[in-house]
């Protein structure tokens, strides 16, 4: 089976987000960049399917040169080749624009199943996966914790947890699946894997290489415009409940929750 995994590079979860003075963006110096954690589950699942059924895993991403490092990490985990769409004209585009570029990059490749993370932990949109599927005209199954490919390799069945229940959904292949935490435990790249990854093909392309018009992308062409970014609203300073005994503290806390906060 030929499998495509869309990967996004995001700031590490430990990152303290700072906002630029003009409020248009976050400060990107000194950020440690990682593979989007949900995309790691996507890569792992792709590798497991490849190990079971054979075929190739292709990693596809869009972003600046630094993303090469994340793609190499995925290749070191066991993926076969990488494609990076690296074009400054794409900077600050919105989710739909990225989905258009990524779908254009794979539309002429041979694929049976496509994976990506359920959302990027940076913009928290969760749009790109479903939008790629829409632009390719194939079904998508989102936020998935279990994937079963049928014996004849024509269908996929997934588990999709929602509030209070799990939906078991099925779609014919090719289909796009977005990975949720719980799907698997992603492997670490082995040392031989890292050595091999250096020799695996990694192609860089521009929008023009994909037959796209660069003037259709970028900040000015966003459909969803960012007016400004702000830090989260400050919470008012809290109270530390004092008391001699646990009983006294608990009693005071209950009184405050009931009378002041009115939440119980």
């Amino acid at each position: 089976m030929n499998i495509i995994v869309f990967l996004k590079q995001v700031p590490d979860t430990e990152t303290q987000i700072r906002i630029t003075e003009d409020k248009s963006s976050i400060v990107k110096d000194d950020i440690k960049w990682i593979i989007n954690p949900y995309d790691e589950f996507a890569i792992e699942e792709a590798l497991r399917i490849k190990e079971k059924f054979g075929g190739e895993v292709t990693i596809v991403s869009a972003g600046p040169k630094r993303v090469v490092e994340s793609i190499r990490t995925a290749l070191a985990m066991g993926a076969d080749k990488g494609i990076l769409i690296n074009d400054p004209a794409l900077d600050d585009s919105d989710s739909l624009a990225y989905a258009k570029v990524l779908s254009q990059a794979v539309k002429d490749l041979s694929y049976d199943i496509l994976f990506t993370g359920q959302r990027g932990i940076d913009d928290d949109n969760g749009i790109v996966g479903a939008a790629i599927a829409e632009f390719l005209g194939i079904p998508h199954l989102a936020v998935v914790t279990k994937v079963e490919i049928s014996e004849d390799q024509k269908k996929v069945k997934v588990h999709r947890p929602v509030e209070g229940q799990t939906w078991v959904m099925e779609a014919p292949l090719p289909a796009l699946i977005t990975a949720q935490k719980g799907l698997n435990e992603p492997r670490y790249a082995s040392l031989p894997g890292i050595m091999k990854a250096k020799k695996k093909p990694l192609e860089e392309k521009t929008l023009q290489d994909l037959g796209l018009d660069a003037s259709e992308f970028g900040k000015d062409k966003r459909k969803l415009k960012v007016v400004e970014l702000n830090p989260p609203p400050e919470r008012k300073p809290g109270k530390i409940i004092d008391g001699e005994t646990p009983e006294e503290k608990a009693e005071k806390l209950v009184k405050l929750l009931h009378e002041e906060a009115k939440v119980i």
Binding site: T15, L96, N125, Q165, V168, G182, V227, P232
Partner: protein, 330 residues
């Protein structure tokens, strides 16, 4: 010309979900600011008797798409039907809930309609006649104010559950019921829901919970979460966990609150033995009241807490449960 607010209702097993009332209430406020009407769309099978309970929160019209193929959610059928209705009515604003179903539906629908989409918003306003939305990004480490390019219509957004205040239902409200006109060709229905597995313990999902009692590394082991379960049961809450507790295997992934878990906004969040790593604080920072119980007075969680108790959680939580019980009984 695009006009009015369209809200998409959500039902499961023919029960209207609470998020519907939240977005219809918010849709009403936005429609009033624009001086326009609110149309709510309901998809399902044998669902018409539910329109009244939705409209009482502020719909002027309810469009019902009633078809056996719409009984259970699939992105294929729902996106097709809703996009046809949107094209007929040309609303200026299209509002959905950021529930599991709503997030999935809205993502694909925005691509079908080729419009900008603001996911999981916590506030809406109208400025110069256009929708402006505020949405947390980086799981709440920053807030983005967003709006739309001129040609991106409808102005589409989803609202985070538990955030939009609900209107007082008006059972006497006048509204119009309209049968939706749509074509749904079986050949496009590729995705199917083949089974539904109910959770063993019927518990309210963290994203929708009114109260959450969460445990972290300080819980020391899975067996100790029992004291949190008891407290949660008493106050009608749900138990959550930090990433440390989930990665240790003490709690399922679905319980995780934080940047790589669920982002929650309950009325009351009680953090027990949680130090407050930045990823966790991001995921629960929009909770209305935060209580922290931790024996380390320097734990970062205390900076976010409205009420902090510096003590051993194993001493505090059981007596807290006892005190609340006493208060509820009196």
């Amino acid at each position: 010309m695009a006009k009015g607010v369209m809200t998409i209702a959500e039902q499961r097993d023919n029960d209207i979900r609470k998020i519907t009332y939240e977005i219809v209430s918010e849709g009403r406020r936005l429609a009033d600011k624009l001086g326009q009407e609110q149309v709510t769309v309901l998809l399902g099978a044998n669902i018409k008797d539910k329109v009244g309970q939705i409209a009482q929160y502020g719909s002027d019209k309810v469009i019902v798409a009633d078809d056996p193929r719409l009984e259970k959610y699939t992105p294929d059928a729902y996106v097709e039907v809703i996009s046809q209705i949107v094209k007929q009515y040309e609303p200026q604003i299209l509002l959905l809930g950021a529930s599991a179903q709503g997030k999935d539906l809205s993502a694909r629908l925005s691509a079908r309609l080729n419009v900008g989409m603001a996911q999981d918003c916590t506030r809406f306003d109208i400025k110069d006649g256009n929708l402006v939305a505020i949405r947390p990004i980086y799981a709440g480490k920053a807030y983005a104010t967003v709006t739309y390019s001129g040609e991106s219509l409808p102005q589409m957004a989803t609202a985070r559950p538990n955030v939009m205040s609900m209107n007082e239902p008006d059972s006497g409200r006048q509204f119009e019921i309209i049968d939706a006109e749509f074509n749904l060709d079986d050949s496009i229905l590729k995705t199917q829901m083949v089974d539904v597995i109910k959770d063993e313990k019927a518990k309210i999902d963290l994203t929708e919970a009114d109260k959450i009692v969460s445990g972290g590394r300080g819980m020391k082991g899975p067996e100790n979460f029992k004291i949190l379960e008891e407290l949660a049961d008493l106050i009608g809450g749900t138990v959550g966990a930090s990433r440390a507790a989930v990665d240790a295997g003490w709690r399922p992934h679905s319980d995780q609150v934080g940047q790589t878990g669920k982002v929650v906004s309950p009325n009351l969040y009680i953090a027990c033995g949680i130090s407050g790593a930045i990823q966790h604080l991001a995921g629960m920072g929009t909770s209305k009241i935060i209580v922290a119980i931790n024996k380390d007075p320097d734990a970062p969680i205390f900076k976010k807490a409205d009420y902090g108790v510096v003590d051993d959680l194993f001493k505090i939580v059981p007596v807290l449960t006892k005190e609340i019980k006493k208060m509820l009984e009196s």
